[in-house]
């Protein structure tokens, strides 16, 4: 069974400080991992995916297969980064089963 764990329900940092949102997964195959974000009163939207290895809004995430982690990082947090962040895994088979972590509410303080 696949599983995604986000150990921090709440995370607060000051503006300009580095931020890291943790995500660990368990999956027997080759995972596809994503970070989704939900800003206040908005729908969830994709932030980034591991296969594209891109940086979106200053965020990056590296897949570490040895540690089965996909932590989200940003060197200098901004107040507009305050949101709920979800890590998600999709199975690579034809069934395309999706599993989300329980989410981390990030608050960036002024």
């Amino acid at each position: 069974a696949q599983r995604v764990t986000q150990p921090e329900k709440l995370l607060s940092v000051f503006k300009g400080a580095p931020v890291e949102l943790k995500c660990n997964y368990s999956y027997s195959g080759s995972p596809e991992l994503f970070w989704y974000v939900q800003y206040s009163r908005q729908r969830l939207q994709l932030l980034l995916r591991h296969i594209s290895r891109e940086s979106i809004k200053g965020f990056t995430a590296d897949l570490n297969k040895g540690e089965t982690s996909f932590h989200l990082k940003k060197p200098f947090a901004q107040e507009e980064d305050s949101a709920m962040y979800y890590c998600a895994l999709i199975s690579s088979g034809s069934a395309r089963q999706l599993t989300f972590g329980s989410g981390t509410q990030l608050t960036v303080l002024p």
Partner: protein, 112 residues
Amino acid sequence: DAGITQSPRHKVTETGTPVTLRCHQTENHRYMYWYRQDPGHGLRLIHYSYGVKDTDKGEVSDGYSVSRSKTEDFLLTLESATSSQTSVYFCANLDRYTGELFFGEGSRLTVL
């Protein structure tokens, strides 16, 4: 947003009444999902569909049923609503090739 809309957006109902939430997509995505979002639990999968008349249970399917009679619409039904089903419900569809989910705006259901 992959043209995905939910209705109703808000609903208040009483315990024991049936409720149906509708998810409509303008894309032709095969996979569609219903999630509920609750504080402390994040997003939990209720049911999903991998094609017309093809559906399967998620992790919190008890008390819910779904139907997919055409590609565009995925209906979630609470046969007899309970207070524990008070939640925000999100529908999503999946671009199978990129793995990206596109979400609706959510339906806030309150069961009194």
